[in-house]
């Protein structure tokens, strides 16, 4: 079992601004990896609803979030009343390719 932080994958299902090739490639890679992960349909939708489960992510210690631009993701959590901790790492699936994103999620340092 790896020592990596828990992973949260956002599907961006409500508007699909994350390129399909990237988000599908990342999902395939996570499913082929040795560990489990959590996934949500759309962090924006959860923030709009102020979903209390965002607090579980924000207060749960280190986490890697595969979503979109880190500035947007951080302030989406803040908008929901549950600011992310400094130890949260955000992997941007809106830029780059799936291999880059998977590399950051499963191994190397993610951009904050």
């Amino acid at each position: 079992m790896s020592e990596r932080p828990p992973i949260l994958y956002c599907r961006c299902a409500y508007a699909q601004v994350v390129p399909d090739a990237v988000k599908d490639g990342v999902l395939d890679g996570l499913c082929a990896s040795g560990g489990g992960f959590d996934s949500v349909a759309d962090l924006c939708e959860m923030s709009a609803r102020k979903d209390p489960r965002l607090a579980a992510v924000a207060e749960g210690g280190p986490v890697r979030i595969a979503a979109c631009h880190p500035r947007a993701v951080r302030w989406l959590f803040h908008a929901a009343g549950t600011p992310l901790g400094e130890d949260a790492e955000i992997v941007n699936m809106r830029e780059g390719d799936a291999d880059d994103a998977l590399g950051e999620l499963l191994g190397g340092e993610a951009k904050c």
């Binding site: 079992m1 601004v17 999902l27 349909a41 709009a48 979903d51 986490v63 993701v73």
Partner: protein
Amino acid sequence: MMIDNESAPVRVVLYEGDGADPLDATDRAGVLRSLLDRGYMVSDARGGTGGALAASAGERCFIVIGQFGGGVAPRLEDGAGGAQIATCDISGLSPDAVLSAVENARDGQPMNQPGAWKPWFPVIDYDRCTNCMQCLSFCLFDVYGVDGDNQIQVQNNDNCKTNCPACSRVCPEVAIMFPKYAAGPINGEPVSDEDLSREKMKVDISSLLGGDIYSRLRDRSEAAKSRFSKERDSDKALGERKRCLTKLAAQGEIPEEVLASLPSPEEIARKAEEAKEKANAALAANRSSD
């Protein structure tokens, strides 16, 4: 369309531990894709390394799916009695069939689903925001307000007009994001010096073109009313308003639907005055507390 703020998504747990056969990676991805695209939250519990989303106190509905031994899903109960837990055996099922099984197991439990609504609302970057209240003064739909400390905040995101990023255009610090917007920096991309000068330039151009757009609308409205009183030509007055709004759309990338939903010029004037008073009161309170 507004979302249902009361219903939380059902959580599906894909179980592959003791008593269940693991899925191969392709099937696992297919099942997740199918469920996520329908709006479900899914925990893949392999190896105990999920857990970014620990169950929260308010969570009430879980559906546990897996390839269970003998094709029979076990019965599970929440010891505390607070949550409803359904189980589904998905042995041999296609991703679409898994989705159908989960939909049946959900048994009408309410949840939002993609397609009916686009999460479109402003997100404020408080590292950039200077609390200048331009967004509050600008928005006609009461999206913005101030908190107890007179800090600007998004108070009614359901009021925001889908695909309209106009308030982000008037923000001099590029502090307002719409994460579902196509282009940066409004979509949350880092703000460059070039972006900053460009955004400021837009505000300046807007001023050069006639001050704030609501003043302009009011002027147009007065002109239209004056002509209306002389000519009693309602079509001409309406035409004037349309021309003005169309020009605003061209300047500010405001969708036509948003313009079509704007209140009457008189109502715009009233709302703009109210917003201005609210903004001025907050600014005055902030000045006195400095």
